[in-house]
């Protein structure tokens, strides 16, 4: 069973499609025609772009939804709590100063 992630498999498929396209272009040069490259080549390019885009989206989603838990990212969440509390305290103190100005 392959251990490759889905994004890696998609990129592998894109590489294979690129190889096939290059092969077709060699054939058309040998045959002295641009029939293959005109239409099939464009379709191959679209398929390759689609595969690479899906791979990238998949990779971003995989990371964003937590493909692998990262300790530093978890500790960054703790820092959000600390900065949020500091902001709340400063806000409350500021409001108190406005309500009861000194001097």
């Amino acid at each position: 069973m392959s251990s490759k992630s889905i994004p890696d498999k998609l990129l592998e498929a894109a590489d294979m499609a690129s190889t096939v396209k290059a092969g077709l272009q060699v054939i058309e040069r040998l045959a002295g025609t641009d029939h293959l490259g005109g239409d099939v080549g464009k379709k191959a390019d679209l398929a390759i772009d689609a595969l690479k885009t899906i791979a990238e989206v998949s990779r971003v989603l995989h990371k964003g939804l937590g493909g692998e838990l990262d300790a530093s990212a978890i500790l960054a969440e703790l820092n959000k709590l600390k900065t949020g509390i500091m902001a709340n305290d400063a806000n409350a103190d500021s409001e108190l100063d406005k309500k009861f100005p000194t001097g």
Binding site: G66, E68, L69, D70, A71, S72, I74, L75, E77, L78, K80, L81, G84, I85, N88, D89, N91, A92, D93, E95, L96, K99, F100, T102
Partner: protein, 132 residues
Amino acid sequence: MRHMRPFMPALAFFVVGCLASIALTATSGCSGSQRQKTLRAAVLSVNVARDQFLEYDRSHQIGIVEQATSREDGVAKLEAYRKKREPLMKGFEIAYKALALAATANDDPSYQQALAATSELLGAVKSLTGSP
């Protein structure tokens, strides 16, 4: 601000629900990927609780200021509230650090400790909920 009173029990129920689902998942036998999913769910649960607590904290302090009868009264009540929330702050810190350790260590003791720390956090939430 009285309308904020029902907020903390709702937060507590939400955290309890998340922890119950985590506990059920954890006790059903834990493969590596299942462990990651459980820890990820715990982190997300703590993040949601954090964001909800920050909003509660902001509103509660503003409410204290609004009801203050003098500057000294406001300062004293803000200090009292900030002192009272310290256990919850500590609970969040312990939970996050335990989850970070569990994500790195990848062993059962750190895993169980992370889930226990998250449960401890729930206790601190309930403690704040019960205060007048």
